[in-house]
Point group: C2
Chain length 259, copies 2
């Protein structure tokens, strides 16, 4: 485990146990948790009981399985309401999806990563929470590069240090210099492109959502497959995209959304 996590003693351990329960995505028995835990059996057991008493984990006494608990769901909800741009931006995301007839993503920048907070396909009857909440790297996604390009210098330096530059496809940018050059282009052009950098066959055009003071609060993108459209096709959607991004920025500023 990382030195950072070690430094956080009991709390760090408890949260790691919580993560492992959550990661199973289904109720899990103690012995299963034990097989993948770095902790001695007694330690794991005690941490788990603490989490159960704190209602972060639920113990189903009928079959002896553990699953995420009510208190976490409550915290989850508070986290979503406080930190998510999705409620404010929803109408604009929906309108853009209808207009361009492609998948539209809304994302935020957190700890150097991209967090998808909304996704809308024009023919969906509803959006599902299961589609949002996903985290992706910033350096090789449209929304990630769009947000990085408009960060202040201090935040940008920190963000650059937080990129792993793992090569996902042959098109992935794999070092900070390449990325910096790309970000200059994006700043000049106003939009970012994902040219199959994260996922082969997937391209997108993205624009940052900025407050009236120019601070990055998120990004919106139109994504499609190379089978359906080309980068030039996406570029033709630039005006609609920029307008939606600007609307989101304006609305967030009027709501005094934290940036």
């Amino acid at each position: 485990m990382s030195a950072e996590k070690t430094a956080d003693g009991t709390v760090g351990k408890a949260l790691e146990v919580l993560d492992s329960v959550a990661a199973y995505g289904r109720p899990v028995r103690f012995s299963e948790l034990q097989t993948s835990s770095p902790y001695p059996k007694a330690t794991l057991y005690r941490l788990l009981q603490t989490l159960v008493r704190q209602q972060m984990v639920n113990l189903n006494e009928t079959d002896g399985t553990y699953s995420v608990g009510l208190r976490l769901v409550k915290l989850a909800h508070a986290a979503w309401e406080t930190a998510s741009l999705a409620p404010i931006a929803r109408a604009h995301v929906a309108a853009l999806a209808e207009q361009v007839e492609e998948t539209v993503h809304l994302a935020q920048f957190e700890a150097g990563q991209v967090l998808y907070v909304d996704k809308r396909k024009s023919n969906d009857q509803f959006e599902t929470l299961a589609q949002v909440g996903k985290v992706a790297p910033a350096y090789c996604t449209g929304v990630g590069k769009a947000m990085m390009a408009f960060l202040g210098p201090k935040q940008l330096q920190l963000a650059l240090n937080q990129q792993a530059f793992h090569r996902y496809t042959p098109a992935t940018l794999t070092n900070a210099d390449q990325l910096q050059a790309e970000l200059e282009h994006i700043r000049a052009d106003g939009v970012a492109f994902d040219r199959e950098e994260h996922e082969q066959g997937t391209i997108s055009i993205a624009a940052p959502a900025l407050t009236s003071e120019g601070r990055v609060i998120g990004a919106i993108s139109i994504a499609t497959s190379t089978a359906r459209k080309t980068i030039d096709d996406l570029n033709r959607l630039k005006p609609d995209l920029l307008q939606a991004a600007e609307h989101i920025g304006q609305e967030a500023t009027s709501w005094q959304f934290p940036a």
Copy 2:
């Protein structure tokens, strides 16, 4: 603080701090957290730094405020996916709302309380997460009584002990004997009514969703105001409600949803 929380030492304290950050619902400064914290300044500060390092809390270095962090949002998402009946039940909730043209709620039973996991109004274009995740008492809500009525005896006893019997309106049931008698009626009738017991002017009819083995996994309700409809009007919707509840139970059983 309760003895239970005290017994959980540092983890309990850290979670309490996390709760208080989440409860603000907006970015908050250290001094504000301090005013309502039971902990000495140094202790609060150190717990907060631990949560920041663990990414459960985010520190905005620009304005020195704390807010919920990415890791909590990730855990949130996992919690939702694992523990929520909402994705499985969604189509049935939507169909019922369309059919009866009133607000339909979907809820689950957790730690003696009702957790709303979906809500649909027939004329909504979308549902918002902000509407779900709310917790309510069981003894004076339609969904709560519907679920309690079909609990096994051991679980029912525990659940009865978890009710506060606070009087919300003149119609609120305020002791276990009254509630037990009401639950007998509900078992016989198959549905529960909220007769302005939780909120003046709000009435509802609710039915439990049961697995094929008869275990309670949730409840669904049709809620309206006394200005719009009477209890008799709601009773006429009983067949549609029971059918939707049964469909949800069947689908959950086929998905092997944990009960």
